[in-house]
Symmetry: C2
Amino acid sequence: MDGSETGKAAPTRNRDLVRLLETDIHLGRLGPGAWLRQIDLEAAYNATRLDIRQALDRLVEKRLVRHIARRGYQVEDFDPARVAQVMEVRAVLEVAAAALVIDRLDDTALATMQQHAEAFATALESGTVEDQEAANIAFHTAMLAPCPNRELVDLLFDLRARVPAAVIRRRNTMDLLRRGADHHFAIIRLIRTRDLPALQQVMRDHNLSPGAP
Amino acid sequence: MDGSETGKAAPTRNRDLVRLLETDIHLGRLGPGAWLRQIDLEAAYNATRLDIRQALDRLVEKRLVRHIARRGYQVEDFDPARVAQVMEVRAVLEVAAAALVIDRLDDTALATMQQHAEAFATALESGTVEDQEAANIAFHTAMLAPCPNRELVDLLFDLRARVPAAVIRRRNTMDLLRRGADHHFAIIRLIRTRDLPALQQVMRDHNLSPGAP
DNA sequence: TCCTTCTGGATTGGCGCCAATTTTGATGCC
DNA sequence: GGCATCAAAATTGGCGCCAATCCAGAAGGA
């Protein structure tokens, strides 16, 4: 157990626990195979045993963690084939979402997206993985904000959470990441020109590139 | 508490509990607003309090049940707008799945699908809702069996579970249901003739019709 | 020196108990 | 007769204890 994000003195609640652990896994602070010992978590987060167990069970549900009887919980392995399949599903849904938002994003929204796209590009060169993720998420959140189908949006973020960024970024050259950043700017341009087919093509590429942001 | 499916003498395990309750909700034996009292479930399924609570928490996670502190658990209401959005997502994914299976379904598979399509049509006229659901699920399972993207398939069935059949079927005329049955036969025909565009159109209609099977 | 066996310590996981809170039913008041 | 008040019963929900099991390290044998 070495995932950080300081356990505070104030007792941590159930929902927060899930989020904290999820983040640790997502960003690679807890890698595949790492053991999540109840006793350590209990002390680290100053939570009760029951809360810890519920949080871990939720992560099992989400398939981020596996449970072995009488042994404990450990971070799942992420099979590249399965990861690719999740990406494919994401691509399909992003393409569908593009059609729903292209006419609903006004200049204000595009300006916000532009900021986040720049923040992402900057973070790539001189930021932590956390910064990159935050900027990337912010970009896509802004893009999907006017989507009327909230189920679709929720599902997209859920799919995002199924594959840790750390796992994707692993075999990821700087070139590929920069291409992801370029995608962001292309997306903004294509929304501005209302070019749906080209936008959908970019969304697809964006999601299917090996280290898809 | 009046959802049946007989609690056996043998203690029911956690995973089974989730499945049993899910089925009861899906088929409308437990309707929106129905209270799921821990004590009753404990007795009905001869399970421990802890198992019951875990099962209920999982249903909360799946948004089939809502939890009110110190009051208990009750079956969620299903907002028609949200249902429509889930359907839209399903439609998008079914269309994508169609492309993946159209060249992978051989005559044997089509024959199986034909059987289930006929079973569904029959059940419509003279079967219970359970029979209809079973036949319908069997049809779609057979259709998606050769889909190489299992994440996509799992997600499709997960989306199915998010909206109880009972809720959909409620405002559903016999005509609409018969049209659903016809869709099944059209699907088989279009796969046989390898007509992907037409197949995708039918898949979309099949999922978006008010009482979508 | 390396491998196998055994024991002590540590961890998990389930069960039962009980306090906090809500609901139900009865009683009295307006 | 209807409504507010109150007490008893029922239900939820959390905490702690302890048995079952697993792991690490020591001891013994090849």
